[in-house]
């Protein structure tokens, strides 16, 4: 077990190196001279000169790469080009807001999606099953943009049930007042694909031999579904959840933008619009690291829920 964790952590090193190289290639080699990009966006010549120095633009590539590696290792990406805010402070202040929407959303969507998936898997092949599945397909086909535009217009703007946008300071104020509509919209978007996925997981199990054994034992259909089938389907469901975890860090960028939620997602879009490279680079690198750690955690959890798995 310990050996496994150590080896997996060790395997992160080459991948991380690859991520750093990819980001470096993108921003320092393909991306070209940031001074040129920023010419229209930042008029201050002195500031641009500063940025050039910070990046070591006039230095050879290997030196720039070294500089980048140093930034990653010391967790110091300097300051945003456009707002001069320290990148670390951007993380510290934006992340809690993203999580405030993301965590309740993940919990709600998982519970609701599993419940509905169980119902349709139980009634597989019936009219209920087919109509839920068709609705899911249609719901998935509508762009997330339409959900946001229409629901924001109707629920907040027309009916006034929620604030149209904004963000406060109190935890509960944010959760119940400002985060409520974003969570509802995100739920509307994410339920359909999750229901379909979880239904597939459940149906994969329904046809297994052990389910036949459970029925041959005289168990009720409820017990077969809720104990035998669900416990096995929980394995891929949990894996799927773990894969979604790193997404929490990036936030729901479209929703954050529409509702002016000061989260990481909105920060990413702003940074892309402003060609604010340090912010994008920092977020990308650290989210990649978090993803790898989450994958490791997923494998460990996988071992915990599936007795057959041996970590080698």
């Amino acid at each position: 077990m310990t050996a496994y964790i150590i080896r997996r952590l060790w395997q992160i090193v080459p991948t991380m190196a690859g991520v750093i190289l990819l980001i470096f290639l993108l921003f320092n080699v393909v991306g070209g001279d940031p001074a040129y990009l920023l010419a229209g966006k930042i008029s201050n010549a002195e500031q641009i000169a500063n940025i050039r120095k910070q990046l070591g633009i006039d230095e050879p590539y290997w030196y720039q790469l070294l500089l980048f590696v140093k930034q990653v290792v010391t967790f110091d990406f300097g300051q945003s080009w456009s707002t001069n805010e320290a990148v670390s402070s951007i993380f510290a202040t934006r992340l809690p807001n993203s999580l405030l929407i993301g965590v309740p959303l993940l919990i709600l969507e998982t519970i609701i999606a599993i419940a509905i998936a169980l119902v349709v898997a139980y009634k597989r092949g019936s009219l209920t099953d087919r109509s839920v599945m068709v609705s899911c397909t249609v719901a998935q086909s509508i762009s997330i943009l339409v959900y946001i535009i229409v629901l924001q217009y109707v629920l907040a703007y027309k009916l006034g049930w929620f604030p149209v946008q904004g963000w406060g300071n109190g935890f509960f104020e944010n959760l119940f007042k400002y985060a409520a509509l974003p969570i509802i919209i995100a739920l509307a978007v994410s339920l359909a694909p999750n229901i379909r996925l979880y239904r597939t997981f459940l149906l994969d199990e329904v046809n297994q031999d052990y389910v036949r054994t459970a029925r041959a034992k005289g168990l009720s259909e409820n017990r077969v579904m809720l104990v035998h089938v669900l416990r096995n389907a929980a394995i891929p469901i949990i894996t799927n959840l773990m894969i979604q975890l790193p997404g929490l860090l990036v936030g729901l960028f479209l929703i954050e933008r529409f509702f002016s939620v000061p989260g990481i997602g909105r920060e990413v879009i702003l940074a892309v619009e402003r060609s604010d490279f340090p912010v994008i680079k920092a977020i990308t690198v650290y989210v990649a690291l978090a993803t790898m750690l989450a994958n490791l955690l997923a494998d460990l959890l996988y071992k915990a829920v599936d007795p057959r798995v041996e970590l080698k």
Binding site: A3, I6, R7, G125, Q208, D209, Y210, R212, T213, A214, R215, A216, K217, G218, L219, S220, R223, H228, R231, N232, I235, V305, D306, P307, R308, K312
Partner: protein, 566 residues
């Protein structure tokens, strides 16, 4: 005579294949199971025997199975097809229980075996957790699992196949059922384990006075265990009666064929009779002509294997790796026109030997001398011409043919790969000759593998090997996946080809009777090592090694009542 415990009358089951088509799986079958009696339901694949079992328990898929309303399944005075689902559930697991073919997949992988056995007791006997656990320990002890207190905490995958099946049996007898349905319970198990499980079922049947409905494709097994036998084919019952009577004097031609076409250890006919022979009434003559086997030092050697070893590695710990010796120091000589049988249970390394000689695995060490060259030491390019001369036929005829190619393309491919056989026209001509040789119609040329049955596909695979005119043919469990009647046909074909072309065979199988029938010499393998190597008649008549003895003792003899008296 007492009243039957289970009485099946005119059971008809249809499956809906698509909107228009129905498939009639059972065409109105009737049979009885008396209290305290073992009845065997025997048939080849597609006979509908498993459908009958599932219908009794009410486990047929609701979506597409249609049971004829006139059918009756009476159990203990009640018609199982008429009672409510709740009543049926109360019967399942308590009055009637069932065990299945694949114990591994039939147990829920994420619960301990103790939990799964306890579940039946909690459901039907209303036992509490601790009481159920204690009973589970007793049950495990009863089915012969050592250290049951410890084993109830085990998950299914931590046990061997035989133990898993014992757990299934413990679960099935937990509520002292009146009827146990066993659906091919030993088919997935090695022959020595099969014997243990059969003995266990027979013993429990006696002890608890229950009835057993035993479903199998293997008539030899039936002889050992059943009081009465019901022979099925294509959804119909061909014959039923006392096992002794049916074995001694089968009335139906199909039953006669089934009994005759399986090779047995004590005699070796020149050709195995097949079903068509019996249907045409000429089956009985075929048994009389016999064949002698064996090798002498004067027979020329085509392949000599010296100290063949094959290791596999698995990662262990932080830097370590674990070595698994799949094949240890195997040496043998294969003689021209002769068959070397290779027997062993799963994990014995017999298949690895075959794959290593084909260089489908690279050998760890050892030599294989063929035509003056050590073929294991050749580079891939140098080995290419030798690939033509050593060919292999795999176990699963459904997996070994590329489903996207026509039969013509499949058989012609070796010629194309090696740039032989002249132009397309003459290649095609050769394919037609080969199709005729393996007994397939000409029109197979443009058909795809999925249009053929298992036996026919194995013929296609054989024809593909023959295009290269090989010297050596490795048959890796080549007939194991086939029904006995088809198996006989393929064995006959292999024998004919050997007689005609003087091929040398390495015949790998877990089935001792088949190996005995086919081989001149036999090597017995256990855990990667050859434990005994002798002429087949010598080996079967007087085995020296204890493992060989155990193996031979486990062969079902097909003699009624053998298990009961064991």
């Amino acid at each position: 005579m007492s009243k039957p415990l289970l009485s099946v009358r005119d059971l008809r089951v249809k499956f809906r294949i698509d909107r228009k088509n129905l498939f009639e799986a059972l065409k109105g079958i009737s049979f009885d199971v008396m209290p305290n009696e073992t009845v065997a339901l025997v048939g080849e694949s597609g006979s509908g025997k498993s459908v009958a079992a599932l219908a009794i328990l009410g486990l047929l898929p609701k979506e597409n199975a249609i049971i004829d309303p006139a059918s009756v399944i009476e159990f203990g005075g009640r018609d199982l097809l008429k009672i409510t689902p709740a009543e049926k559930r109360a019967l399942r697991g308590s009055e009637i229980s069932m065990i299945f073919q694949e114990p591994m997949s039939s147990l829920n992988p994420v619960f301990t075996v103790g939990y799964q056995i306890g579940e039946v007791l909690r459901e039907h006997k209303g036992m509490t957790g601790t009481a159920a656990e204690q009973r589970a320990v007793e049950l495990l002890r009863e089915v012969g699992i050592p250290e049951p207190e410890l084993r109830i905490r085990y998950y299914p995958h931590q046990m061997s196949g035989g133990q898993q099946q014992r757990v299934m049996i413990a679960m099935a007898i937990a509520c002292e059922p009146k009827l146990l349905i066993a659906d091919e319970p030993t088919t997935a198990l090695d022959v020595t384990i099969q014997k243990q499980i059969l003995d266990l079922i027979a013993e429990l049947q006696k002890k608890h006075g229950m009835s057993v409905l035993f479903i199998t494709h293997d008539l030899a097994v039936v002889g050992d265990i059943a009081d009465r036998v019901v022979v099925m084919r294509h959804g119909e019952i061909r014959e039923q009666g006392e096992t002794r009577a049916v074995f001694a004097n089968p009335a139906d031609s199909y039953t006669q064929a089934l009994l005759a076409c399986r090779p047995v250890v004590d005699s070796r006919p020149k050709r195995l009779p097949v079903i068509d022979d019996f249907m045409a009434g000429r089956g009985h003559v075929m048994r009389s002509e016999t064949r002698t086997r064996g090798v002498s030092e004067s027979d020329p050697v085509v392949l000599e294997v010296k100290n063949l070893c094959k290791d596999f590695y698995a990662r262990e710990g932080l830097f370590g790796k674990k070595t698994f010796h799949a094949v240890k120091n195997v040496s043998f000589k294969l003689r021209k026109g002769k068959t070397l049988g290779l027997v062993g249970e799963s994990g014995s390394g017999k298949t690895t030997v075959g794959l290593t000689l084909m260089r489908l695995h690279e050998a760890t060490s050892g030599e294989a001398w063929f035509d003056g060259k050590n073929i294991l030491a050749l580079s891939e390019r140098e080995f290419l011409p030798y690939k033509k001369r050593i060919q292999i036929i795999f176990q699963n005829p459904y997996a070994s043919l590329n489903p996207r190619m026509t039969v013509g393309q499949i058989i012609m491919e070796p010629l194309i790969v090696h740039g032989e056989g002249g132009d397309a026209q003459s290649r095609a001509k050769l394919v037609f000759e080969l199709l005729a040789k393996v007994g397939l119609p000409e029109m197979s040329f443009y058909k795809y593998p999925h249009e053929f049955s298992g036996g026919q596909r194995q013929r296609i695979a054989i024809a593909r090997c023959l295009t290269m005119r090989p010297d050596i043919l490795i048959c890796d469990e080549s007939v194991s996946a086939l029904d006995v009647s088809v198996q006989a046909q393929v064995l006959n074909l292999l024998q004919d080809l050997q007689d005609e072309f003087g091929l040398s065979y390495i015949f790998i199988s877990h089935d001792l009777a088949v190996v005995k029938y086919m081989s001149d010499e036999v090597m017995v393998m256990n855990q990667g090592e050859v434990v005994e190597h002798a002429d087949s008649d010598t080996l079967y008549a007087s085995p020296k090694d204890p493992y060989t003895k155990k193996l031979l003792d486990s062969i079902p003899r097909g003699i009624p009542g053998a298990a009961a008296h064991a």
